[in-house]
């Protein structure tokens, strides 16, 4: 079961370990072409470890991970990015001493060529064009998140992995960022959106996976899901 060439992601029996600790247990997860999949779960549910494993940045992982028919387990992170999978890491992780433009350009240089250019990112986030020559560390949290998103998009991914874009940001700013997601989908990019904020996340998703203590506790469509059921699988018990 390696997945078809047009299937953005097929993860089977994934286990991720940090030393003796197993952070992710036997996770199966797929993303269909054009789909936005939301992964929700409490702190420590294994969401970030899951994304790191896809990017081949986990300490130790077992199981199979295929994207667009490619076996990611045999690839390096730069190869994975070049193949069209890009990550917006948790906590933004910009390069603080580099300017906004330099941060963005790094995304362009390490990725694939495609329709998303620096100019388009600036048109989506005009404030970044104004501040392009400032060091990233001087930006507000929301602006930094825009750069992190832009940096990943400039790699022209076919699958975008977003880890907690709303973390620590004001609701207004989060709204601005989420407004971009439909534009991203319109480019034909599939997405995994990881969030602790269930409501925000389910509003944009086609399907969702709920993680609990490293395993999938619930899978479904937002419109079918009952709030109490989700909460039970979110917190356990």
């Amino acid at each position: 079961m390696s997945g078809a060439d047009d299937e953005p992601l097929r993860v089977e029996k994934l286990n991720v370990y940090y030393g003796q600790f197993r952070a992710v247990h036997d996770i199966d997860l797929t993303v269909a072409a054009g789909e936005i999949v939301s992964v929700i779960g409490a702190n420590g549910a294994g969401k970030t470890s899951f994304l790191k494993a896809i990017m081949q940045q986990a300490d130790r992982a077992e199981g199979s991970i295929h994207a667009f028919g490619l076996n990611l387990r045999t690839m390096s992170t730069p190869q994975i990015v070049a193949a069209g999978v890009a990550l917006v890491p948790e906590g933004r992780r910009l390069f603080p001493s580099l300017t906004v433009a330099e941060n963005l350009r790094i995304g362009w240089e390490i990725g694939r060529r495609g329709s998303i250019t620096l100019d388009r990112i600036y048109s989506w986030f005009p404030v970044l064009a104004e501040r392009r020559d400032q060091p990233a560390r001087r930006l507000s949290g929301g602006q930094q998140q825009m750069v992190a998103l832009g940096r990943a998009l400039l790699a022209n991914p076919r699958l975008l992995l977003c880890d907690e874009i709303s973390l620590g940001l004001a609701p207004v700013v989060v709204g601005q960022l989420y407004d971009i997601l439909p534009k991203i989908r319109a480019e034909g990019i599939s997405m995994i959106v990881i969030e602790q904020d269930v409501v925000r996340s389910l509003a944009v998703a086609d399907r969702f996976y709920c993680f609990l203590e490293g395993a999938v506790s619930l899978v479904g469509r937002p419109q079918d899901a009952n709030r109490d059921v989700i909460m039970r699988h979110y917190f356990g018990g």
Binding site: Q57, P89, F95, R151
Partner: protein
């Protein structure tokens, strides 16, 4: 201040160019990879011996040989990082210090085995004896001026590489946050290797200037490392232009120390370093 002392100070400042060439590579590896290469001085000496053998074999000036060797020096630095140093890069600096320390001892004794303990000096040709007469007071050698100018060109080139090119931006990105770089698919190991390749080129240039300017033998690597280190710390950690000023301060201190008594030359260099460390722990030109 007598004319003689002024003359000594000017000559010392020019030696600073040579010391800056020792120091820029060390500064780059400290700034980007955040480790100290104990074998840095020994690599300069190793390159000097290579230049000696090759220029003797080919009958060419060591400067010409050094220019042809630059790509090789890049490759040597690149693979040194990839194959050896990258394995010990991490949170703790202890393994890197110990590995480069072992490397330093191996190079020193390998050279001793291959070339013996004698001191050598290479011939740079006419440029060594030519000089200009300035202000009707001092004779300034053409060669020291040329080395000083080389140091300025090398630092300017590194400045452009780091701050005006895309590869430079990637190197600085990895220096900022290597884990973040790896996470988004910018391989920190590869950027480190490229940075060490550039360090290798500065080592080759430093070797060509040093081997013509001063005597060298297999055991002098550590003193070159200490000079490079002091220039880096004096100039302000992470400041490339600072290394030139740091080198000049050391050179002036050496020459003025030697004015008192020849045996004071090196002691004066170290003492001025310790003095600045006490007064300005972050160096003369600390980066923000």
């Amino acid at each position: 201040m007598t004319i003689d002392m002024l003359n000594q100070a000017i000559q010392g400042a020019l030696i600073g160019g040579l010391y800056a060439l020792f120091a820029v590579g060390l500064s780059l590896s400290l700034g980007v990879i955040r480790f100290i290469n104990i074998a840095h001085g020994d690599l300069i000496v190793l390159a000097s011996f290579l230049l000696m053998s090759l220029s003797g074999l080919l009958g060419l000036s060591p400067f010409v040989v050094a220019l042809f060797m630059l790509p090789l020096a890049f490759a040597a630095g690149y693979w040194l990082q990839r194959l050896l140093l990258q394995r010990v890069v991490g949170e703790s600096v202890l393994p890197v210090i110990l590995v480069t320390f072992g490397l330093s001892i191996m190079i020193q004794n390998g050279l001793l085995q291959a070339y013996g303990p004698d001191t050598h000096k290479l011939h740079g040709g006419q440029i060594e004896v030519a000089s200009v007469h300035m202000f009707g007071l001092f004779d300034i050698g053409f060669f020291p001026l040329a080395v000083f100018f080389t140091a300025i060109v090398v630092i300017a080139a590194l400045d452009i590489l780091l701050y005006r090119t895309s590869i430079g931006a990637r190197i600085r990105a990895v220096a900022d946050d290597p884990a973040a770089a790896d996470l988004i698919g910018l391989s920190s190991g590869r950027m480190y290797a490229i940075a060490m390749g550039v360090v290798g080129m500065t080592v080759m240039l430093a070797a060509s200037c040093m081997s013509v300017w001063t005597n060298f033998d297999p055991a002098i690597g550590p003193s070159r490392l200490l000079t490079a280190f002091e220039a880096v710390v004096l100039g302000g950690l992470g400041s490339l232009w600072g290394t030139l000023v740091g080198g000049m301060v050391l050179g002036i201190a050496q020459n003025l120390g030697a004015q008192m008594d020849a045996s004071w030359q090196i002691l004066a260099q170290h003492l001025i370093f310790l003095l600045v460390l006490v007064l300005r722990p972050r160096g003369l030109f600390p980066k923000a």
